[in-house]
Subunit: 613 residues, 2 copies
């Protein structure tokens, strides 16, 4: 095939390309990654470029996106226009994207930084007698076809002064193809965004430089809604049943998100006014409360959310005071109890792509489980209760300073305390370790009964003496009163074991139900991903030992950290990935476990403290 | 050609159509005018209908607008789908428009009422275990493909309660294809809009029922900006030069528009909350001030406006408190001094359509002139000064009670006073009549000189004795001190004649320059339309006699009243007409007269008080 030469302006980057290659391909060859959110399918019309010479005849698709006049001027779609001869092509401002490596829990992943918000510096000609274009038209035409002004008065109110302040040199801010703001001079380097994971318990904000994709700061705080209601169910009740309940929960969420974004911006040396977008994930209840939407349909079966697809609102309208035109993007949810956080997990784990049978489990008060089979996605949620977060456990606590977070039981007990201080309680991962060890050492039978003293003949003495009390009062001492911070021994009680059984039974039942529904057994899983903080902390062997997760070879079980937060960062940094997340959310089949036959049997079975093969 | 039978649901209206006819054509045959804003060209994708049976294969265009799933469900575009066999077609809610006659100054004109805002009543199924769709999805799917939710949180905040308040019966409000609000029950009959003409001197609001197109009330008031600056030039100066000047002018405009719309709604028995859209025309300066846009580029050549194309903003954001989601549509302007009011005139007069050479002139402080030649449009403005509005005239006044608005000069003087009271001044039309009579009777020579007493030998005595004073003090008494309200005689002074000459010279120069530029003479004009209140009041013969307008046969000169306001009403009532106005505005060639060679000569010539053939 003959070769043609193409030169890209304004930077005069030149390359050879095969005759018939698209401009998109040729640009990529020249090291220029063009903004083409639909992936070069000619569907979005966003990869507009202008031929200064050598333009091919326009295609049908191009006729759809450009006016006769624009085609005449040489405008084409980079993905559609095929190079037939040597050509000079002008790339409009902001067309080229940078490449960036995003770290996903230690694994680097190449992504193209193409955030929804872009700041484009423009040097415009001043009006003359021959060029009396309106101010707005002057800016829009410099940005190329397809850009439309935001439908609010502030843009036009600011435009005439911005243009004339620094001699028609301005910076335009675009959200997608909407021109939303202008400012005098070149301010294109100051463009930041925040990814926020609104958890029931913890809220985390990640501040990113949207020009480079760099993560600059991370801030987290307890979700202040917890003061009003500890878990999702109680917050649903408050939001739908108490006067001003929704308003209070909404305000609490807005407050913490605004505060964290502000703090992260300051930590990064930026101001809140430099933050142009906030991408939010969270469970369905959290995103509803953040947006102030009454979760009326989520109180009871069939658990209908107010919205499912992604929402985009102005931060200012929510009361989040960052850049006046900043937007809040709320990722889509999948169902009443499978939220945008799960969509974040799917995106970060690339679960929706490729073949094979893979599963991701986010273990928390509400367990979310996603199964991917040859690219098809299925999701369910299962109410595990708060045991994994240390709640309803006698001496349970969150994984914070003073928590016993891992336990080793052999001849005697050894444990690790977060922060290296005397222990003041036990958190979820410590409880799983402890119970696993207690089962292994015959202190607890697979039915979950703490064996009475008379059955402990074969148990090492060091352990036997740690069993105190009887019946409902029976308990196993992990740390003596002398070792513990509060002067009280730290124990696992018979009731704690029951709570853990309920929690892990729900998770295991969810996992196995979903697999069964698709005609699979746990052993068929090529990979089981553990998302979330808890998934990161628990020891895989302990989780397998008590049958919290199926017994798989250790190399097939992989913790992926706060994948929901990573997913939010990916959605913030890349429109393509955002679209991919939305498509994934749309095609996930949501399965309501409580409606499935046999769930409760499965749940009861799942409570047994033994390996599940 | 074979005939097929098509039945339209849900109303089960049935008709025969030729095989190969489009659904749009068949529906029209059945008396159903479908919402198809692009006029059936397959460009807008808004005429979605759903085949229950007999669907033809989808076209390429339909593939663009619908997903595979939607095509599968039978969704097609009414304008594209050709009937090949008997078919059952479901029309989505709100698809059918009503026909309505709009009165354009006494001339009825059939238009299809298809306002931008539509209220659609919906009865939805309640969620079940098999139908746990999100609340938003439930509503969107009932409205058919292509409808997207407004990107603000209020919609979703209201939705869950609205759905559950009256058993899933709601009314959806759509702006174009954007779902912006919902309310419980069927409220579809309460949907009003206002057309507003923001004049430099007077502001008029027309309240319309958007379901029927009926005009229900008209309210007008003086533009309160006049207290800050009398004319456009002084307001431009205040807006761009005085501290808080823009804010004050903006607030004054917002206040009067809000007040008039509220008053008109009350007069019509509605509440302001029932008003969903305000369509605004006005000159370019007025629309900029209404939107709070600093008219920085409009102070000097080349007179660049901030915006040219139509703007759409939320009324609430401007401080106009009607329905919380109501929008303000500001019609496009053509240039710095040819505004949206002229676009209204073009639309109302249908000047942009059909063949021939036609012209519309809006005579005011600023004269706007539009020439149409075989459908092509040319426009200019010409600074006539305020004489026609009675300003800078010794005893000039607006056309209000007490104004002499017509004058007859024969053997003596007779005049008519508005309101039938003793005269207190003279308005523009009276001045034109008076000067025309004074020229005819040789009281004034064609150069504009008030002849001194010694030259008045041939003039009837009744007139001669009305000439008093000398030189710059010379004046012609129309009403004696006894007749006049103020006890002072009402006169036309030598200076008044000069002012009128300046004003009419500017208008005539504009008219003739525009004609000359296209190689035409005034006699070629098939029609000369006089828009605006002044055009309605002046006597054509007087205007011709003094050469304010060219001497054309009387049947070719036609006053068309407040065509700008009628244009605004048409834009309010019909999306198609709104689009037509926008297209017309886009293709008008704007000619800056002061930049044209020979303008000042032409202006000087035009001052002569004689017929211009």
């Amino acid at each position: 095939m003959a070769a043609v030469r193409v030169t890209f302006h304004p930077d005069r980057v030149s390359t050879e390309a095969a005759s018939g290659a698209s401009v998109l391909e040729a640009a990529s060859r020249a090291g220029l990654n063009l903004h083409a959110p639909c992936g070069g399918q000619g569907r979005c019309g966003k990869c507009a470029v202008r031929f200064l010479s050598g333009a091919p005849a326009p295609s049908e698709r191009e006729r759809h996106f450009f006016s006769e006049e624009e085609l005449e001027e040489g405008w084409r779609l980079a993905c559609q226009a095929r190079l037939e001869e040597n050509a000079e092509v002008l790339l409009p401002p902001g067309a080229v994207m940078v490449e960036h490596r995003i770290m996903v829990e230690g694994v680097g992943r190449e992504i193209l930084v193409e955030p929804c918000v872009r700041k484009v510096p423009l040097k415009l000609p001043a009006p003359t007698g021959d060029d009396a274009r309106a101010d707005l038209m002057r800016v829009l035409q410099a940005l190329g076809p397809g850009v439309r002004p935001a439908p609010h008065p502030r843009l036009l109110q600011a435009l005439p002064s911005a243009l004339r302040d620094q001699d028609f040199e301005i910076t335009a801010t675009l959200f997608g193809d909407e021109l939303t703001a202008v400012e005098p001079g070149d301010q294109s380097a100051r463009v930041y965004g925040a990814a926020v994971d609104v958890g029931t318990t913890t809220v985390v904000a990640y501040l990113c430089d949207l020009a480079t994709g760099d993560l600059l700061a991370t801030e987290s705080a307890l979700n202040p809604q917890a003061r009003l209601g500890a878990d999702v169910i109680s917050r649903l009740r408050i939001a739908t049943g108490e006067e001003e309940g929704l308003a209070r929960l909404h305000q609490a969420a807005i407050q913490v998100v605004g505060d964290l974004v502000t703090a992260a911006a300051k930590q990064a040396g930026a101001t809140p006014k430099d933050v142009y977008e906030v991408a939010v994930v969270g469970n369905t209840c959290m995103t509803h409360l953040l947006l102030g939407i009454p979760p009326l349909g989520m109180r009871a079966v069939p658990f209908t959310p107010g919205f499912r697809f992604a929402q985009r609102v102005r931060a200012e309208e929510l009361g989040i005071h960052i850049h006046p035109e900043a937007q809040v993007y709320v990722a889509p949810n999948i169902g009443g109890f499978v939220g945008a956080d799960t969509v974040g997990v799917i995106l970060a784990s690339e679960l929706g792509e490729g073949d094979g049978l893979r599963m991701a489990v986010d273990i928390g008060t509400n367990g979310e489980i996603v199964l991917a089979k040859d690219g098809k996605l299925y999701a369910c949620s299962t109410a595990a209760g708060p045991a994994f977060e240390g709640a309803r456990i006698g001496q349970g606590m969150r994984a914070a300073e003073g928590a016993i977070d891992s336990v080793e039981i052999g001849e005697d007990v050894s444990y690790h305390v977060l922060g290296g201080v005397p222990p003041s309680g036990i958190c979820g991962s410590g409880l799983v370790d402890a119970v696993a060890g207690m089962v292994r050492c015959n202190l607890v039978d697979p039915g979950g009964r703490l064996r009475p003293a008379e059955e402990l003949g074969s148990v090492p003495a060091g352990l036997r003496q740690r069993v105190v009390g009887e019946g409902a009062e029976a308990r196993f001492v992990l740390a003596s009163a002398e070792e513990a911070a509060g002067g009280e021994p730290i124990c696992v009680t018979a009731r704690d074991v029951r709570e853990l059984q309920l929690a892990k039974g729900a998770i295991l039942a969810g996992i196995t139900m979903l697999l069964t529904r698709l005609g699979h057994e746990p052993a068929d899983l090529e990979e089981l991903l553990l998302a979330g903080a808890f998934g990161n902390y628990i020891r895989r062997e302990s989780a397998i030992e008590i049958g919290l997760i199926p017994a798989l070879p250790e190399d097939r079980v992989r913790p992926i950290g706060n994948a929901a937060g990573v997913g939010a960062r990916l959605m913030l940094s890349s429109q393509s990935l955002r679209r991919r997340a939305e498509e994934a959310a749309r095609r996930v089949e949501h399965i309501e476990l409580s409606q499935e036959e046999g769930f409760y049997d499965r749940f009861a079975e799942g409570m047994a403290l033994r390996r599940y093969e």
